[in-house]
């Protein structure tokens, strides 16, 4: 294709002029647009001048004078300044592009759209942004903002001993991460917590998935009576709020008064088991409880899939002389796993962050000597403990960062494989 023949240089002049927002538009004789761009840009600077100034200074220094400067306030203002700057730059880029595009139109001898047309285009193109903005703004402040804050916090020394307003917080680079690996107490705790988090995630989730699929297949047998009532009963653990059941279980597993030791195990002739004070048995109890809580979800999903499998598949298999086992491994299981795989993977990420059960059952305990996390603390409950009880904010932030990296990479890996990613139009 040939480069278009320009008869003039309006596009360059307009681009150059709109270095001051609005002037390029004025040059293109779009007066209303030009003036409103200019007013917008000017008011942006007038309103945000102080915040931007203070914020950018604050985020680099985190304060210089003890007593006058509050490092954490400055960090918050700094992030705000960055976010506002990003929006401002976005608008600026749009202004430059708009001036260039319209200048190009003039260069090519095309007509520039009238005010009425501009208005229409603004409504049409702006509508999706208008719809998204309320949700997006809220998201920026309660989700994205905190995440940026945590990421930055991970590179500071904010803890009980560096706590404003009495002290200043400083940037320390990767020191928190180095401490996690180098200091004995932190390394030991980190490795133990990570190991149990992994065992917990895989153990509890796999068990609940296996049980859910198994029961769904059993209940789905054609000649079984009372399906509706059985299904309702099997959904019950999902229907009752989890925090209630976990607290109830922690009463049942109580070592001296709990019904499990006192009634059930006693009647089987088994001595009391230390469900709350022995790390091993606490872990067993947690995995059992999570299986109880989690299987109904998988059960319901699988039931839905099973009911959608056409009967002809099994009839054809019977004609070919397949055994029940072959039908199960060659037809049922692959179809179920294929259909539910994306949702099943989210069950793993859910348990990876399953704070409620760990905290409500036994508070992450029992305590272990020589480490600052309980024996059943997973990463997320350890972070809670560090934040709420020992004020180790920067260490907690560093661990949060590591944890989020794991979850996000699993998530991306999973969604790369799903349909919605591949179909151009879906994304």
């Amino acid at each position: 294709m040939e480069t278009p023949m320009y008869q003039s240089n309006h596009r360059k002049i307009a681009l150059g002029l709109s270095l001051i927002p609005g002037f390029g538009q004025l040059y293109n004789r779009q007066y209303v647009k030009g003036i409103s761009f200019f007013i917008l840009a000017a008011s942006f600077f007038i309103v945000f001048k102080d915040l931007l100034n203070m914020g950018w200074w604050g985020i680099f220094t985190l304060g210089e004078v003890v007593g006058r400067d509050h490092s954490i306030f400055l960090l918050v203002e700094g992030i705000l300044a960055v976010i506002i700057s990003v929006f401002g730059l976005g608008f600026y880029a749009f202004n430059l592009r708009d001036a260039y595009k319209n200048g190009q139109k003039r260069d090519l001898g095309l007509k520039i759209s009238s005010l009425r047309e501009q208005y229409r285009a603004l409504v049409d193109n702006g509508f999706p942004y208008l719809m998204i903005s309320p949700g997006f703004i809220l998201l920026v402040f309660v989700v994205i903002f905190p995440i940026i804050f945590v990421v930055l916090l991970a590179f500071t020394n904010y803890d009980l001993y560096h706590s404003p307003p009495a002290k200043l917080v400083d940037w320390v680079g990767f020191q928190n991460f180095i401490d996690l690996v180098k200091l004995d107490l932190w390394r030991k705790t980190f490795i133990n917590v990570l190991a149990w988090t992994i065992v917990w995630t895989f153990g509890a989730t796999t068990l609940q998935i296996a049980l859910g699929i198994f029961l769904a297949i059993i209940v789905n047998q054609k000649d079984l009576k009372g399906k509706a009532i059985i299904r309702t009963i099997f959904i019950l653990p999902w229907a009752v709020p989890a925090f209630v059941t976990i607290l109830v279980f922690s009463g049942m597993f109580n070592e001296s008064f709990g019904v499990i030791n006192k009634t059930i195990l006693a009647s089987l002739g088994i001595g009391p088991i230390e469900w709350m004070t022995d790390p091993f048995w606490t872990k067993v109890a947690l995995i059992l409880i999570q299986t109880w809580l989690g299987f109904p979800f998988v059960f319901a999903m699988t039931t839905g899939v099973l009911q959608a499998i056409p009967n002809e598949l099994y009839e054809a298999a019977t004609v070919d002389g397949a055994s029940s086992w072959q039908k199960f491994t060659k037809i049922t299981l692959p179809l179920v796993l294929y259909a539910t795989a994306p949702i099943l993977i989210t069950q793993y990420t859910f348990n990876f962050n399953n704070f409620n059960i760990i905290y409500l059952f036994n508070g992450g305990g029992p305590a272990v000597s020589g480490q600052n996390a309980g024996a059943t603390d997973i990463l997320i409950s350890w972070i809670y403990r560090l934040t709420m009880t020992s004020a180790q904010y920067s260490k907690a932030a560093a661990i949060t960062l590591l944890l989020s990296l794991v979850v996000v990479s699993v998530a991306l890996w999973q969604f790369r494989r799903t349909k919605s990613f591949k179909e151009e139009d879906m994304m």
Binding site: P128, Q221, A396
Partner: protein, 280 residues
């Protein structure tokens, strides 16, 4: 003959498994119900079928001079309802835009939502806590609702967008040709067709705040602001077992309505999740 015996064995085994599972599921639930009628306060004396059943614990919960239970119940209802309303509005707007419009930043926006829905919003607990301190939103329900609504947006937007994508675009295109505006298409054509997924999102966002413990326990400080989850935990955790029967009564009063609500809408939950196909 052999076929028949095989079938009998298979069915017997199946029923045996089902009965065993039913006992395992129902036992803890009945045990709480039983405990709530037990006289006395402690966990140690509580039996599944109490000797002289009493309604004393329920009476105590409803007596505002003795317990904050009704306040907590009201707080939870209020927070859940408001979270649901705001979430449904914001999620419908965003999901509709993502599903129907092709605009600059759409791909990046969807990608951001996808990643955000994977990070539970309490992962940024420290930040939420500190920000709430700075903005004076600690110990307010407003702060909690804002966090819940914001946290609900990414996942539910994906869920609803997945459903809206299945509504044929020809419908809104023909309406556009007939001269319908953006808002009219949204309210009169797309929303009525999206009722099932709106119901799912409404239920999810209503039930999630009920079950949340971590955010509420971090943000709410004073007893009369507590939600049910925090309040009930407070009841058992202070001196474990000493108020167990009262806790049991409180649990029954919350678990029964939620379970009924859940069971009657259970169908939609499953279909909504498989339709959106993104998250469990």
């Amino acid at each position: 003959m052999d076929m028949k015996r095989q079938k009998l064995i298979r069915l017997t085994l199946s029923y045996a498994v089902i009965i065993a599972m039913t006992i395992i599921i129902v036992y803890p639930l009945l045990w709480v119900v039983g405990s709530s009628f037990n006289p006395g306060q402690s966990l140690s004396g509580s039996k599944m079928i109490p000797d002289n059943a009493t309604l004393a614990h329920y009476k105590k919960l409803f007596d505002t001079s003795q317990s904050d239970y009704l306040t907590w119940y009201w707080n939870s209802l209020k927070i859940s309802t408001l979270t649901m309303i705001f979430s449904v509005i914001l999620v419908s707007l965003t999901a509709y835009s993502f599903s129907r419009y092709r605009f600059i930043g759409r791909q990046n926006g969807l990608m951001t939502f996808l990643i955000l829905q994977m990070i539970p919003n309490f992962a940024a607990l420290i930040a939420i806590f500190i920000l709430a301190l700075l903005t004076g939103l600690v110990d307010t329900h407003l702060g909690l609702i804002l966090v819940y609504v914001g946290g609900a947006i990414p996942m539910n937007t994906w869920l609803m967008k997945g459903y809206l994508d299945t509504i044929p675009k020809e419908l809104d295109e023909s309406a556009k040709i007939d001269g319908a505006g953006h808002l009219r298409i949204f309210f009169q054509i797309v929303l009525p067709l999206a009722k099932p997924i709106i119901a799912v999102v409404a239920l999810f966002t209503f039930i999630a705040p009920f079950g949340d413990f971590i955010l509420a326990s971090v943000l709410l400080r004073s007893k009369e602001k507590y939600t049910l989850a925090v309040g009930l935990y407070d009841l058992v955790a202070k001196q474990f077992g000493s108020e167990f029967t009262t806790f049991a009564a409180g649990s029954v009063l919350i678990a029964v309505p939620i379970a009924i609500l859940f069971l009657s809408f259970q169908k939609y939950f499953v279909s909504g999740l498989t339709a959106g196909g993104t998250k469990g």
